[in-house]
Amino acid sequence: MGRVAGKKLFSIMALCAMVGLLLLPIAVSLPSLAIGADAPDAVKKEGEAKVEKGRDVYYKTEGIVVGAPAPKTVDGPKDYPRYNFESRVLLWFANQQHLYYGSFVLAVPIFCMVIEFMGMVTKDKAMAKRYDQLAYDFIKISLTAYSITAILGGILIFTFLTLYPAFFGYLSSIFRPVMHIYALMFVAESGTIYIYYYGWDKMKEGFLKWIHVSMSVVLNVIGTLLMMLANSWIGFMMSPAGVDEQGRFLGNIWHVIHTALWNPLNVHRILGNMAFGGGVVAAYAAYKFLASKTDEDRAHYDWMGYIAMALGVAFLIPLPFAGYWLMREVYAYRQQMGITLMGGLLAWLFIIQATMIGILFLSTNYYLWQALGRMRGAEKYQRYIKYLVFVLCVGFLVFITPHTIVMTPAELKAMGGQQHPVLGNYGVMSAKNGGINVIITTTILSFVWYMRGNKVSTVSWSKFGNIFMGIFFGCAYVNIIWLAIYGYYIPANVRVGLSVPQVATTLSCLFFMFALNGFMMKGAKQMGAIEWGKISVRSQYALIMLATAFTWMMGLMGYIRSSVRLFWHVNEIMRDNSPWAYTHTVGFAANMISFNVLFFWFSILFVFWLGSLGVKKAPVEAKAGVPGGAPQPAEGH
């Protein structure tokens, strides 16, 4: 009893320590935050004559200048020291790898939190243990990745300092307090993640388990804040605020953080990270499934792959809408920037992006259809899959149709203009919005089928429920396609608003049909249990495809977002005068992204391999009679 009380006390102390660590950066940085407010006072004391005011380039408010102007760099060893290699490519590589790992270690603890909580509230003891084991498996993978993230962060800072000292000096002069908070929060996150991982066994039951889950909440709050702080730097580079037109800091740090694009970037990135994290864990499970020697292992990794995929796709579905919001804000901030992205220099990259998004949804649907095979009773849906394939393919083809094509003069003459007389009609936003919404709605339908695959509803109103669901989906398709066609007949300023009801239609299917299905399947008759592990090998390759497509798309979108600044380090404030201030060709960018993707996957395979070493050791230790016996799943880690 005393031991339990001691453990409780220890756990509460650990939680308090973590909350303290979380608040520490704020407490420590308060004087730093006040720099902006104090500095003008100091200047005032020296005499009113020295006070200079500037106008915020974004907020249009007046403030007292407290920073130096953005440096006007020149191409030379002082501002752009270099090796005999393109510095931008080195920075691109360091940045991208850090982002991949950073996204992964931010997303996976969120999954852990959700799965551990599901394990706690599940009444079925066996299921609860499986969830707990799964959450533990997830955090184990992310722990090694966490160390690599920190190493890559160091490499990134050194790359900035050594290759772009003038730019990084300016950025750090603006974000000084933010960077200190960031560093301290990183310390807080490290402490929390290690206590969370190593305290798993000690805090596995009762009240202590609640403390353990609370730690995961603290961990994820810190992780999300870290991401938001890092986003403020790229937000500032794209849409600066809090400085005057010369780039001089005006003393309000919140203006510098809260730029025009900060919030959409935050939402888009957190959803993207979650989808990416789910994809990587699903690929890990697929790899383990393919390498499994026993049915038991196959069943475990099949289940793990499904959960990770479902979590990833849950965040993938709203991702295009978050992307749409980001683009809308980009247009609102600078119309020219939006045109460069969607209709100018970088437009072809968006066609590639559309292709990748299509691949993501096609892979997800393919996996779900394959997964229907492990359920008895799901055969009834098999004959309808060909129709879903047709709908998905049509949506996909419309979604990837370019507006104009790069052509030779002879081709141009043969086609009669830059736009194809028939296909060119599909290369506009009205059609594309229809295409992607049809794809997402079909994915939601596949999920609904999967969730009811081996069940027969027993509620008295099941017939009405089935008819209503079928008609709701049918009407949703009609509404999406109708709005897409309607867009051709109304002016652009009205047409642009049609995307909102289109999105609402898709989301209605997601929320209402999932809820309706849940009510209908309450106490449903099971045709047979889900036979975990009895799924085709092809489905696992679909999971790997899903993860690879996520990785490639993240690399692509990062490149697009960064390239839109063109020849500016900080948009319209600090010019990039290095020899690499030009936009790469699509081919070079694609090769570079592919290289980053390959490097990430080889390195993450190494992480997976490291994780498997610990698992292999366990039986050997047990045989040797190590005190405590052999570790048991979900009980002894």
Binding site: I467, C475, G497, V500, P501
Partner: protein, 40 residues
């Protein structure tokens, strides 16, 4: 069979009314006219 027709009709009425309301009110919330083409 009779009930099936009733279910289909009720479902159609509810769904068409719902999606029309979604289109109308979400366009209106943006200060735009969903019925633009029909008023012209």
């Amino acid at each position: 069979m009779g009930m099936t027709i009733v279910y289909v009709v009720v479902s159609l009425v509810v769904c068409i009314a719902y999606f029309t309301a979604v289109d109308h009110f979400l366009m209106e919330s943006q200060g735009l006219d969903y019925w633009y083409l029909f008023r012209k």
